[in-house]
Symmetry: C2
Subunit: 331 residues, 2 copies
């Protein structure tokens, strides 16, 4: 029994202890209000939302810091692919129980990334669930008015580019699920692939190059093959991509050589969080120069073709590669 007064519920305590330190933006109002204030500063606000579920998007025994980072970074990856600079995020956290050690590590991972990517926590909601841990993050970015990169601007003749390497995360998930596969790799290669699954590297530094050079862009989250299909559908174009040109890490090459996985599985596996974009030839040199300046590797993997053709990913003999599935779908 307690008289009404300044309330100190378990929920409020959790928020004060673990999340208030992350809410350093004035618009967050110290997380003591019902809403946050996001100043657009004359820009367009870009909004993206991604939810991650235990057992679906991450594994129950993944480190809490990694889970936090992945939950935020999948959103930062979307913002980067849209050419937007991070402005902040809100968090909806459904927890089975208030495990303080787990929460402390989770908040630390989130806080470190929030600082590293200059993306402050603006608000949130913490609720209980009888089910799996579920984290939904809505992230905000800013772009100059009318300049958000879209999926729909690709034109025939544009170069098709991806950042980094493709297939690492899909390979990492397979290694986590099948120890015999991991045993075929050196420990550093194994760790690299698992790390790529657990902690995506959002290409935030490429945002301004995407905005100024790309005719269309998106991040590769559901698999390169399927995501390319989505970009082409949105733009009303086709594409011809050479599988041999798709950048692969040495670790993935080692796994392919060991025979444990097929290239087609990696090209449609998802969780890459690299940027897929199309760049008109006239802006290609500038794009490559800006990417180099940002320290982000970009590789030309193909060309946009006329509408009506289906996007093709071809092998070295020029034959279209068949995929068991194009991309990840939840249903």
């Amino acid at each position: 029994m307690s008289a009404p007064g300044p309330v100190s519920s378990g929920e409020d305590d959790l928020i004060a202890r673990y999340f208030r330190p992350l809410a350093h933006d004035p618009g967050a109002l110290g997380l003591i209000d019902d809403a946050a204030i996001l100043q657009a500063n004359g820009a367009d606000v870009v909004v993206t939302v991604d939810a991650v579920v235990e057992g679906v998007h991450f594994l129950p025994d993944d480190p809490p810091q990694s889970i936090a980072r992945k939950a935020l970074r999948v959103n930062l990856s979307d913002l980067a692919a849209k050419g937007a600079r991070p402005a902040g995020f809100v968090l909806a956290l459904a927890l089975r129980r208030a495990d303080e050690r787990w929460l402390a590590a989770f908040a630390r991972g989130l806080g470190d990334d929030s600082v590293a990517f200059n993306c402050p926590l603006l608000g949130g909601d913490t609720v209980s669930t009888p089910g799996p841990l579920t984290i939904s993050i809505t992230a905000f970015g800013r772009v100059p008015t009318g300049q958000m990169a879209r999926r729909s601007g690709a034109r025939s003749g544009d170069h098709i580019a991806v950042t980094g390497t493709i297939g690492d995360a899909a390979a990492g998930l397979r290694v986590l699920r099948d120890a015999s596969l991991g045993a075929r790799l050196s420990p550093p290669d194994r760790e690299l692939l698992i790390g790529r699954y657990r902690e995506p590297q959002p290409r935030v530094a490429l945002a301004s190059a995407v905005r100024s050079c790309a005719s269309a862009a998106m991040d590769v989250s559901d698999g390169l093959a399927g995501d390319l299909g989505k970009l082409c559908a949105a733009s009303g174009v086709g594409a011809e991509v050479s599988a041999a040109a798709v950048p692969l890490s040495d670790a993935v090459r080692a796994l392919l050589a060991a025979g444990g996985v097929h290239l087609a599985d990696l090209l449609s596996g998802g969780d890459d969080y690299e940027i897929l974009c199309t760049v008109p030839p006239v802006r290609w040199e500038t794009f490559v120069r800006l990417a180099a300046g940002a320290g982000i590797p970009v590789t030309r993997i193909g060309v946009v073709t006329e509408a009506g053709e289906m996007p093709r990913i071809v092998d070295e003999a020029g034959e279209r590669i068949a995929f068991a599935r194009n991309s990840f779908s939840h249903f």
Copy 2:
């Protein structure tokens, strides 16, 4: 086996069929992009997020339309209490399975409210979960720069007001959980209380009166007693509220008279989604006039007192009412 091409996954089909029709705002880009564009139009963007979980915030056999409405309306209630006009929302939906009938009804409820409250769907993420249905909505509103109503502006001498009636939803939940309690009520009273639990009525029409008149405001979601405590703590003030002045519906009065529930449980029960605000005496008449113009009943329930005093809710004898708990907390 299918060649890569315009992808039509189950997930994309669901979104196209059920949610695209709700995405009528140009910034939603027809839900075919990775992000939405929210134009601030020179205003501050107010951001609020609320998650609802099956079995925690709603019951598994609640009608899908009601679940959708509640998920959106709890956010609209926050925006109204902050003095903001709705600008749009994004939805993260974690579903056990793609039950088309359920989804069609859910989307219809969401769409109807989206139109009724002029709050378009801007984007979303639909994922699978092995656990309970979980809906997280981040909603956006606009307020003139610097004018968001906060929890922290209450001053000694301000009137304390609430909209509508308090305790209906908490009573409705008890009736749903205990049929013998419902049997003490007339069918219309029972339906009214259950309806108040299932479908909150966000006080969107009061937003501009709150913005222009209230010194502090929040919505009552976790119980009047506890939420008043939070407002007072944020403002550094005390409060004296007369329980007899708290507006109650005839249905709740009937339930109290039947002896099935105590007033203290209803004053700390939550799910009211009414607005609690403080109004300086000099602006009280204007506030009452604007509220009447908006068709929203407001009742003065007490007065803000000096800092240092704990907020008191007193009975007719002037005795402080003791609460088993101040407000709902998930942990």
